[in-house]
Symmetry: C2
Subunit: 150 residues, 2 copies
């Protein structure tokens, strides 16, 4: 058993790495908790995300969902297939462009989102409880700056 000393890669690099680790942990902890809540409604996080975007934005193509959920066309296809199978969404063929079609949330899909969303929102609020209003604003702005820069 040998411990390799964690060598330094320079001031800014080390700073970026430790910040990245905190970002990773924060994201993971919150997502893991919400995942458990969402699964009590028999949805995976990916399925929830697709359903939620269809609920809030209206009918969308696979491509549009891909962009909004930051997925890839391949995995959205799979998630959509499972949502169709379970009756949460339906497909409306496009009249002109035969490559694409619109996906639409069904009453069953709407129902489950309406049931789970308010508590989902409350859960998120509770995870951020430790931060003051100002701190949350600062965090929001820094993350936004980070995220927009690439």
């Amino acid at each position: 058993m040998k411990i390799n000393t964690l060598k330094s890669y320079g001031f800014r690099t080390d700073k970026a790495m430790t910040t990245w680790i905190q970002l990773f942990r924060s994201f993971n902890k919150i997502r893991a908790k919400e995942s458990i809540y969402i699964q009590s409604f028999d949805l995976t996080m990916n399925q929830f995300q697709v359903l939620e975007v269809l609920y809030h934005r209206g009918d969308l193509s696979v491509g549009a969902i891909t962009k909004l959920t930051m997925g890839t066309p391949g995995n959205v296809t799979v998630v959509v297939r499972n949502l169709k199978r379970d009756g949460f969404i339906s497909v409306i063929p496009h009249s002109k462009d035969k490559r694409t079609s619109m996906l639409s949330i069904t009453p069953k899909g709407k129902d489950v989102i309406e049931k789970l969303f308010p508590e989902h929102a409350k859960n998120l609020e509770s995870y951020f409880e430790v931060l003051s209003d100002d701190e949350m604003d600062t965090l929001f702005n820094l993350l936004r700056k980070l995220q927009k820069s690439h």
Copy 2:
């Protein structure tokens, strides 16, 4: 096509939700980019994470890796199986406790980490380029506070 108005769930709840979205986007963008780099060495992000922790911390059990990588015993088992198959790690049985064993990085595994890590670190640095030293400190502290509170 019907747009459901995004209703408000209250000041703090809305704030938490928008901050969560930024956290999600920041994490995803960085992870997606690094994933492409890591894959050019024929490793998935999960495989890289396990290998990296074995490189930096020395031999570990599945349970220890699970904690350090925030995974679950089941998925670490699978990742470890693939790393074994590809010759990146080897298994040392525990003398006393027959339930567990130690995992150890092989020379081949060490080699690939040493090849990819310096540029990985530089990549991370570049993603955080847009933030000043002070901003990065603030971001680090806020994320740490968030992450430790649950």
